[in-house]
């Protein structure tokens, strides 16, 4: 699963300027200033309820901000027509079971929406592109299966294929590896890395701090609806911060090429 040169894009800068969102009288995120630099793999980490999924929804423009702004290449994301925004920023939510019986191919073709003709739909060039996306995520063999019959891991890869189908330059993926076995999980992170190498930006919500440290160029740490740290993983993920944010003791293991932690409960 490597990204071919024709996937190459020049990703725009995506940033949140003192972003905040309130739902039902509660601030899910507040005062977040974060820049997603072009062609970087950014990992968002944090304990449950820190606001990681909310952050992706704000960056994708699917949720309106209560405070602040989201800027795509300097332009306010809320001011862009949805169709245009969708060509540039793709968002994959945490996997939800689909309840309608699309085939895998039909499901992935939904990702062509921002490019297709409203009445006549996809052309043959679109169909070739869908084949590429199915192949890159290793689900071409499933293309005539109903999405309602897929396993969690298969569905995750199909969602990734749909995300690629949009041709977006910025990909926002919410826990894309949570349902995958080790091999497919590493494949997906490798695919993400490959996309970044050809100029796209990828933002991943990850629970595995070691994977975040190993694959990401930048790490953003959220806690209680606030951004508490952001920067290269080697600088950000140090035992003090991990103890404070995740309530666990991080013990660096010796002998690894990069820092690898072993986690233990707090004493």
């Amino acid at each position: 699963m490597t990204a071919a040169p024709d996937l190459a894009k020049q990703a725009p800068r995506l940033e949140l300027v003192s972003g905040g969102v309130e739902r039902r009288g509660r601030w899910l995120l507040r005062n977040v200033d974060l820049v997603i630099e072009p062609a970087m793999l950014t990992s968002v980490v944090g304990p449950n309820g820190a606001g990681k999924s909310t952050l992706l929804k704000l960056l994708s423009g699917t949720w309106r901000l209560t405070e602040g702004r989201a800027l795509l290449g300097g332009f306010d994301l809320a001011g862009l027509p949805r169709r245009q925004a969708a060509r540039r920023v793709a968002y994959v939510p945490q996997s939800v079971r689909p309840s309608f019986e699309f085939t895998v191919r039909e499901f992935v073709t939904l990702g062509r929406y921002p490019h297709e003709n409203r009445l006549f739909g996809t052309r043959s060039a679109d169909r070739d592109w869908i084949d590429r996306c199915l192949d890159d995520t290793d689900v071409l063999g499933l293309s005539e299966r109903r999405v309602t019959t897929l396993s969690g891991g298969e569905l995750q890869r199909v969602l990734m294929a749909r995300c690629l189908a949009t041709e977006a330059e910025v990909l926002l993926l919410d826990e894309p590896t949570s349902n995958l076995d080790l091999a497919h999980g590493l494949d997906l992170l490798g695919l993400a890395r490959g996309l970044v190498d050809v100029g796209r930006s990828v933002v991943l919500v990850l629970h595995d701090l070691n994977a975040a440290a190993r694959f990401a160029d930048r790490v953003a740490v959220l806690d209680g609806g606030a951004l508490v740290a952001e920067g290269p993983p080697a600088e950000v993920l140090e035992p003090d911060l991990v103890r404070r944010v995740f309530q666990v003791e991080a013990v660096p293991l010796s002998g690894a090429a990069s820092t690898v932690f072993d986690f233990e409960p707090l004493a």
């Binding site: 949805r82 793709a90 309840s99 699309f102 039909e106 939904l110």
Partner: protein, 352 residues
Amino acid sequence: MRIVPGVRRVGFWWYMAAGAVLLVTFAAVGLYRGSVALDPADVLAVLARRLLPGEYGPVDPQVETIVWSLRAPRVVVAAMVGGCLALAGAQMQGLFRNPLASPGIVGTSTGAAVGAVFALTFGLAGAFLLAAPLFAVGGALLSLLVVTRIATRDGYTPVTTLLLAGVALNALLGAVNSWLIARSWEQYEAARQIAFWMMGGVADRSWEHVAMLLPGLVVGCVVAAWFARDLDLLLEGEEVAASLGVDIERAKRAVLWSAALLTGSAVAVSGVVGFVGLVVPHLVRLLLGPVHRRLLPAAFLTGAWFVVGADLLARTLAAPKEVHLGVVTAFVGAPFFLYLLVRHESEVAVSR
């Protein structure tokens, strides 16, 4: 044993061709069968005289009246009503992501019935022919306006709120309807017309009714076609649809208004014909899958032949008396629906 999730799909063009054949067959039998026995050659002669250019030999004027002025508009209205209801039902099932939604789920068909009953009980329908249909369409659109107003907060209309508001309005309008009917019992003619409306039917429809239905049908179909793809994405939830580029509030509004127009127009000329808008789209989705670019036209065609066929049964089952169309559609539709449910569930169970 072949294990297939759900019912295996059939090809779209095969399905449409079969539907066209059924529609033409039912329509032809509909023109030829009835209380007066006719010679098929005479029926063809009338159609040729009316529809084809050129001169044709003389036809018995009585036969011509029966075929062209009595039976033909009835068949055409039946096809249009069936198409409208099935299309609107398919749209509502997509919008609410629920295969049990019906065209009137947001109160539009009850609203249309109240409009028509209002015009009938207050004698407006006697004053001019268009009063009842116009009040019906008005009632449908007004109901939707009320429901969307109630359900909208800060420019956002959640479908669950819409659904609940629709349920409440349906109950309220049903009560209004009962009250209007109760106070009309002394007026025999109004009571008879209301009963006709509530049971639904296409008896005694004329070309004027076709003309009344046509604008709503055309506008409704065009808007439905333009927003067909948006429904595919809305099936995946509003957040996903928005992230893939759907302007969700605009799409929801367009789908709701076009469905209301289709439903209101259908109810305006035929009363409340039940079950078509529920069963037909569900059946078509099982056979063709959920992609609306195929589902919507197929539902329209299926609704058309289904109602033309049901009307044929309605007037031949107990000839020379007529059974009400709404009774036939429910009698055919409900058992068939139950059969599909049972069969579908068992096949899904096998696949897991």
